[in-house]
Symmetry: C2
Subunit: 259 residues, 2 copies
């Protein structure tokens, strides 16, 4: 059962005059849990195209991720924002966000089920070319897309933006079938050097095709304007790193989808 | 005094039919030393354009760097291969290369003089827009372009490909005026984790605009086909990392030259 709310957005000047980004709120299931995601695509054509799953940060699915999905739709992808926490579970503050994020970070099996449900929802969309699918995620969502890869999911690539890289089961790196791009703030105080080193070793041992980019001067949340501009808080927006990491993602997609 | 040998190259199909890459061997001086560099540019136009200095690996200026200069010329840049060792000093083997490289790596002041002489030679070319200049380097040349930046040279950016990042004078990071891109093989056994950490700290303390990319599965010399394909030797070609780092360089140039 789907609850579809079509919504037509006016588009910026960078988009061709034919482009019309359609968005829909979509209910889907994982086990007994009801999840509520968000789809965005350009309906100027009906050609099957690559799909990109977008996974939210610890506050849950917000306008931020929806905007990223719309940006991806403008680039020509079918984008679907997964909902990891469940319909109606939208933390009001960082305290509630911490409870939710911790629940899933300490139950990686459940986290993998939730994110795979989102991937399945994206792939069953008839506009999506199932052989060309990727996932991106922010902070908690970065961790989540790495777990998606570690689950052995069938997709072409993942991109983590300032995601936590730690793993309770590093041997699961051997399940990774897709290419991996990690966009990391070089001054992120929440990512311990030991976790970074362990992640690199996990990739190395599993012979994964991976790239890690460190952005100088960037702390946690560097892609998120709502994080403010005070690096001393450990999480802050960094326009330069945001722009560069988005460009790196586009180049990564060009490699996995269009080569 | 210049000894100019014009040479006209046939071009690949990717180049516009008007393009004609001109190359010249150019003598220039640093103090009493005579150096012999190599210039490449497209003479289809006479418009001033960005200039890129190319610094050789430990074997000295070879056909490898000349080919990179020609690739840069095809991209629309004036490219100049610096000669750090001096005219006629072209190591025949790794033993001779080690002697030369060690001489300059252990005399950073002389290394800076030599590379700045190359930069000056590039900038005095009337085809070069002096406000848009960068330097790239491979292995020993990567170290050298970082030293160029540390010398306080006036240029917009440097790119190091598998260059050594260590510095005997990390406080010199404060002299860096340009943007820095480091392309690094994640499995490079010649780059100690402590040197990598010290480099990052140097950039951090000096508030440099820097990005470091780690390429999974790549060891030292990953851009150089002549290094062979055996990672266990510690230096080997990696087609994927070569292609990606070249694309990252192009994106970096787009940012510093064309924004």
């Amino acid at each position: 059962m789907k609850n579809i709310i079509p919504l037509f957005l006016a588009l910026a000047a960078t988009v061709s005059v034919q482009a019309k980004i359609v968005t829909q709120t979509i209910e889907y299931k994982q086990g007994d849990a009801t999840l509520e995601g968000y789809l965005a695509y350009d309906d100027a054509t009906t050609t099957a195209r690559p799909g990109v799953l977008v996974v939210h940060q610890w506050l849950g699915l917000t306008d931020y991720e929806k905007h990223r999905a719309e940006q991806l739709a403008v680039l020509g992808y079918v984008a679907f924002c997964a909902d990891i926490y469940g319909k109606g579970i939208r933390p009001k503050d960082t305290s509630e966000a911490g409870v939710q994020a911790t629940k899933y970070k300490s139950d990686r099996a459940l986290l993998r089920l939730r994110v795979n449900a989102g991937l399945d929802e994206l792939k069953q969309n008839p506009l999506v070319d199932k052989s060309r699918v990727a996932a991106i995620g922010y902070c908690f969502g970065g961790t989540t897309v790495i777990e998606l890869a570690r689950s052995g999911a069938d997709l072409q690539g993942i991109v983590s933006f300032h995601g936590g890289l730690d793993s309770p089961t590093p041997a699961d790196g051997k399940n990774i079938k897709c290419k991996v791009l990690i966009c990391h703030g070089a001054d992120d105080p929440f990512e311990k050097p030991a976790d970074l080193a362990a992640f690199e070793d996990e990739m190395r041992q599993a012979n994964v095709d991976w790239v890690l980019i460190k952005y100088g001067g960037a702390v946690h949340s560097f892609t998120q304007p709502m994080a403010g501009n005070d690096n001393s808080k450990g999480a802050a927006y960094n326009e330069r790193a945001d722009r560069r990491s988005w460009a790196a993602m586009k180049m990564f997609f060009a490699g996995i989808f269009h080569d």
